[in-house]
Amino acid sequence: MKQFEALTRKGDTQPVRYLIVDDSVFARKSLARLIESFGGELAGEASDGLSAIAEYARIKPDLVLMDITMPQMEGIEAVERIVQEHPEARIVMVSSVGYQDNILAALQKGARHFVQKPVKPDALYEIIRYVLNDDSVTAPAHAGRSSQ
């Protein structure tokens, strides 16, 4: 797998800590491999929205990669709940379902960006770099969708 220049937070040299939220073990493994190639550290995993809320509060990751369609609680509702409690949360939606209503709902609830599966490593890398350097606290108006 291609190795990327390590991503860092602004003014910090420590590895970026990620929380991956996806009901598919396989998707979580694939994303974990990608963030490793970005020089990041897997701080935690969750398989549904409810667990994601608890995990976020417990590990306070630098960035969350969040699926939308999941059992128990879907990703968009989890984003809303996490951002209500932690307005500084940086969440990127990673989903195969990328229609406008879904993207708008996610961004309105506080997600910073949207990536459609199958994920292209270069595209995800650029989006994460952008989101890590974006200092706006609430959902940015210029956040958007990256489809392949």
Binding site: M1, D23, S24, V25, F26, A27, K29, S30, R33, T69, M70, P71, S95, S96, V97, G98, Y99, Q100, D101, N102, Q116, K117, P118, K120, S147, Q148
Partner: protein
Amino acid sequence: MRMDLIQPFIGSLDAVLAEMMHAPAKIADLEMEEDGYRRKGTAAVVSFKGQIEGRIILDMDPAAAAYVAGLLAGAEVDPAEPIVSEAVCELANMVIGNAVTQLNDRGFQFKVLPPSVLTEEQCARAGQDSEATILRFETPQGIVHLNIAMHYLARRNREHSPVAVS
């Protein structure tokens, strides 16, 4: 079944396989099926609900499924390993998700449910609810079947029915 609704699934499978397997998929055959579905390899089912309801089965030759699993896992995978089923579920999720995205952007509203591994019981039921269109794709790693069964809800039909003017 309307071809304009099936086309996004064909395009999506082609695009996702090309991205994941680094090879094009060629349609080899298309058939209609009314009886229970007979699984060909490792299969996942994804249901959707809304203005169009139905389900899609992605069914892959064991070798093709193991190849995709290996690519995603970054290591060679035995076709019998459970991770292969997981990989097919994730691939089905991508194919259906991308197609549904196109259909939603064209005005059809529906929701996709999480994928699951296709069981024998689901296979038996698969042909009972509605007629299915089965597409057979050839890839360098093996055959991939896409079994599509969907129907419209009355609300959508009424919306598109001609309005009588007195």
